[in-house]
Symmetry: C2
Subunit: 211 residues, 2 copies
Amino acid sequence: MKLYDYWRSSASYRLRIALNLKNIPYEHICVHLVKGGGQQHSADYKAKNPQGFVPALELEDGTILTQSMAILEYLDETHPTPALLPSDALGRAEVRSLAQVIASDIHPVNNLRILKYLAGELGVADEQKMTWYRHWITKGFEALEARLGNTGFCYGDSPTLADICLIPQVYNAHRFNVDMTPFPKISAINENCLKIEAFDKAVPENQPDAE
Amino acid sequence: MKLYDYWRSSASYRLRIALNLKNIPYEHICVHLVKGGGQQHSADYKAKNPQGFVPALELEDGTILTQSMAILEYLDETHPTPALLPSDALGRAEVRSLAQVIASDIHPVNNLRILKYLAGELGVADEQKMTWYRHWITKGFEALEARLGNTGFCYGDSPTLADICLIPQVYNAHRFNVDMTPFPKISAINENCLKIEAFDKAVPENQPDAE
């Protein structure tokens, strides 16, 4: 498999964790989101993913999958061990719900294209843009913190889709100085997950294209 | 089941379609998103869904599910007929990816709380706010239109998660005067789906709380 990847993309980071957890070897292909105005906008890459987003996953036969949440479900269905979802429907609903708090309600609102629109079309100052960024992470983390336990993971005693979404978002929170004091459970899960090799290997700074 | 619902919430609209398609009876409970500053912020409702979003689905035993995409998967797992996902993993990945283009990349960015932040904290004028709204729908629809066929549905020949996400988003596009001329395939799917009783019954104007 080929992963169209960028070290600081948190949706790519999710897939790196999942591929590592499932021991699926993959070729890393860097799509640089900043250089030259962004390689994701190139005709070459848009032929692979018309939306011009990373990540995309190319299967052995050349099929290209897009949208990280859809790809995570695909990987879990086709490589079931270790499972990224609980074995019961209610558990799966809870894990997917926790994951979507991040994947729907934090990540897309803080995406690069949104920040560019704020600064460009709307003339929002850097300071206000960072306040925006921190605001939506804080709102989402408040919702999550209230729902988490103390098992070291978001749900149960092994990594699920929810942790796979959470850890990259905590990376962003640290990078942009979100106050994590109100989120001891999230912080404990982050610390616990990063001790696992599959998570550690997926950290942005450990990628070949890290700068 | 009880659906905590608001007629114009497009995430609620998704669940109404799915419940109707699967012939699951449900009690509609209106959570008015505008009146009195928004009933979704009340302590009563936040005890049910700490995130203060609609929809939420209360099961017979009182368990409350949140996040529409997680609930749709739950309904499909527990009430498998008719299926809202294809029977093969690649098909499921494609349908989930199409659905996420809307559920991740359009809907959250145009959500009420975001529009309020733009107008309030950032002092964005009404006209610019509407341009923002239309911009993200148009971007997402461009990505979708390029991937759709002519079967009357987003994928295959019956409604899937992708149609369930698309039709409420087309409703929003019409409501806020998005130019649909570049999207003939999306428009054809919308027209086709709305002929189906389960979709028609879920239309905002057909809800008991419609104003």
